[in-house]
């Protein structure tokens, strides 16, 4: 399927005892997981030194499938757990896997402060526009008018543009990709993993079972083909003057800066004070 990956076998990176996985048929999360593992493989990151921290929800469950040091934490808090872990163990490579509800609703405060702080972490947010694990309730990224189990008359709340939010909060690296472009996803995640600060990567995933079906969005392949044109983060987009609005959701690297990395800055300040 991916001929440009002759030396990468995803099975080498998965915990076989955890198979079969619990993702629904058509779910995009498996593709995002594949892209992450492929990126880790190409960067030759030592899995003994890799820590994957996840929250609660469908995305949160992915950490258990990865053959590394994995931590399935509490709802919305993986970035806060990862902050403690990365500061205590700067020798580890810390990756956070989270979902749109985990990261932007219950964990929203932790996200903006992680962006502001710029501690070296790679945060992979899988956005399927829905609370899938609990049966399909509206999330902060559910597009307006969509039907969910808690918006039976259509969603009336504007939704977040997570990348615009992360950029505004100062994240060192911000990018977005869709699950149908696995090699591009892999390249974006590689760039994020190598960024010497906080990297926020949003992957537009699809939930066919409890979101697509309820909104007559067709099969998984039909859903992913329309992602860029149909996902419409209104809260940010509608705040931009109409002539400047883009038609499709932008993907790729959306922001990158070289602000000081928090952990290094903290250690340098302590060393400077000790030298006095």
């Amino acid at each position: 399927m991916f001929r440009d990956a002759p030396h990468f076998d995803v099975r080498d990176y998965l915990r076989k005892e955890m198979m079969p996985h619990f993702l629904c048929p058509g779910c995009g999360h498996g593709m995002a997981l594949r892209a992450l593992l492929w990126a880790l493989h190409e960067l030759k990151i030592d899995r003994d030194k890799l820590a994957v921290v996840s929250g609660i929800g469908c995305a949160g469950r992915l950490s258990a499938y990865i053959d590394a040091n994995t931590f399935h934490t509490t709802h919305g808090r993986p970035l806060a757990y990862a902050t403690g872990l990365a500061l205590a163990r700067p020798d580890l490579h810390v990756v956070v896997i989270t979902g749109d509800g985990d990261c932007l609703a219950i964990g929203g405060n932790h996200l903006i402060h992680a962006c502001r702080r710029n501690l070296k972490l790679t945060c992979l947010m899988l956005n399927n526009e829905i609370y899938g694990m609990t049966g399909g309730q509206v999330s902060p990224t559910t597009s307006e008018t969509r039907l969910t189990t808690t918006t039976p008359h259509g969603n009336t709340e504007p939704n977040f543009d997570a990348c615009a939010l992360a950029t505004a909060a100062g994240a060192g690296f911000v990018g977005r990709e869709v699950t149908r472009h696995v090699p591009k996803m892999k390249e974006l995640i590689k760039d994020g993993l190598q960024h010497p600060g906080f990297a926020f990567i949003e992957v537009l995933s699809d939930c066919t079972e409890v979101y697509g079906r309820k909104n007559d969005m067709g099969s998984s392949s039909e859903m992913v083909l329309r992602q860029k044109s149909e996902m419409r983060p209104s809260a940010y987009r509608d705040s931009v003057d109409e002539p400047f609005r883009s038609t499709d959701l932008p993907t790729g690297i959306l922001a990158r800066n070289h602000r000081p990395e928090y952990g290094a800055a903290l250690r340098a300040a302590a060393a400077a004070r000790a030298a006095k």
Partner: protein, 386 residues
């Protein structure tokens, strides 16, 4: 400019507040990570450690909220370091979620709760002892926990050392619980009498293939995998099997939760701590903690001077409650008096443990500490009724 050279003079005693003694205790216990959030009356611990920890090669971070501070502490401990957070009632409420995680996933850590008046924002600068049950039952579900209740700045120092020891030995969160008066009063503290604690974590060793992160030996405390050592395990707040992976198998779930309780019971000789004063012949025993116990100590002497046979039982470990010691100390007592700064919490536990005795409370919820005179008056009244 000081004309007298005092550099050779190393005083044995320091004037320290309870919170300062806690910060010093954390450093001496080998704590290298603190995450917190500003809250009265515990902020001095964070302020001190923001200066002391970087000097000791550790990390201090002020997080975006109380929840994040607790999460960062658990995260740091999962990375292998001794970690601390400190808060007061409103913040302690917010920390419960991740305290439960630490209890369930067996992650050592220490949490200080400096009690102030409640409920809600309550009285930030006034003392209270109303978090007795929240420390025990604050997070959802069944889980055991260790709670220590020091009553002076010196004892806060000692119990901070012990809290880190117990957290590591038993692989559990440990809560240090004291009130605003002890936290913010400065007292003479003689340090150096006790060597710093050196309980170290039991790390996983041996073959990686057959390693099970939650398989415990005789002490019922599983060796912990250190990230980087090659064990590549999974840690979760879901109920899990010995492999660490999620499990809802009834027998597995029952056995693992049972072990959490049994492991603390197995270490009761290390955990239990109390002080019994003049209890041998006491007909009335006062049971109190923290600042109320210090007032009670003076009330005991006052009552004895009047000829009343009064003693004091002071738990230093609150949970699990040192019930064997309580029964021993109250053998000759017909009446128990429980003075406390709440509407009746410790009294409930004493009533539960001593059902055949008359248990009376002296409850003050005004935001003021109880005075020795108030306790002596209540004790004298009960003693003369007997």
């Amino acid at each position: 400019m000081n004309a007298i050279d005092r550099s050779h003079h190393k005083p044995a005693a320091k004037l320290l507040s309870g919170n300062a003694a806690c910060a010093q205790g954390a450093i001496d216990a080998g704590c290298t990570f603190f995450a917190g959030y500003p809250i009265t009356p515990s902020s001095e611990i964070a302020e001190r450690l923001s200066s002391l920890l970087p000097k000791a090669g550790g990390v201090f971070i002020q997080m975006e909220d109380e929840i994040a501070a607790m999460a960062a502490v658990v995260g740091a401990s999962m990375g292998g370091v001794k970690a601390l957070t400190a808060t007061s009632g409103p913040g302690f409420s917010l920390k419960q979620e991740n305290i439960g995680y630490a209890a369930g996933a067996e992650i050592p850590c220490v949490i200080v709760n400096v009690m102030r008046g409640g409920p809600s924002t309550g009285m930030p600068t006034r003392p209270s002892q109303a978090d007795i049950f929240q420390t025990r039952y604050g997070s959802h579900g069944d889980y055991p926990i260790i709670v220590l209740v020091p009553a002076s700045a010196r004892e806060i120092y000692d119990e901070t050392l012990r809290a880190f020891d117990l957290a590591e030995i038993c692989r559990t969160p440990v809560i240090l619980l004291y009130d605003q008066v002890i936290a913010q009063s400065s007292e003479t503290v003689a340090l150096g009498g006790r060597p710093p604690a050196h309980a170290t974590r039991k790390w996983a060793s041996g073959p990686r293939e057959s390693y099970k992160p939650y398989a415990a030996g005789d002490d019922l405390v599983p060796a912990m995998p250190r990230p980087g050592d090659g064990y590549r395990t999974h840690t979760t707040g879901l109920t899990h099997s010995e492999s660490g992976f999620p499990s809802q198998d009834p027998e597995t779930v029952t056995r693992n939760l049972g072990r959490l309780y049994a492991k603390l019971e197995k270490h009761r000789d290390l955990i239990d701590s109390y002080e019994a004063v003049r209890c041998e012949d006491a007909e009335l025993v006062i049971v109190a903690i923290g600042i109320s116990a210090r007032a009670a100590r003076r009330a005991v002497d006052a009552c004895r001077a009047e000829g009343h046979k009064v003693g004091l039982f002071r738990p230093i470990t609150l949970w699990p409650f040192p019930e064997i010691a309580l029964r021993e100390a109250t053998k000759s007592a017909k009446t128990i008096l429980v003075p406390e700064l709440n509407i009746g919490q410790l009294r409930l536990e004493i009533e539960r443990l001593l059902r055949d005795r008359r248990v009376e409370g002296l409850h003050l919820i005004s935001g003021e500490p109880i005075t020795p005179a108030q306790i002596a008056a209540a004790a004298t009244k009960l003693a003369t009724e007997v």
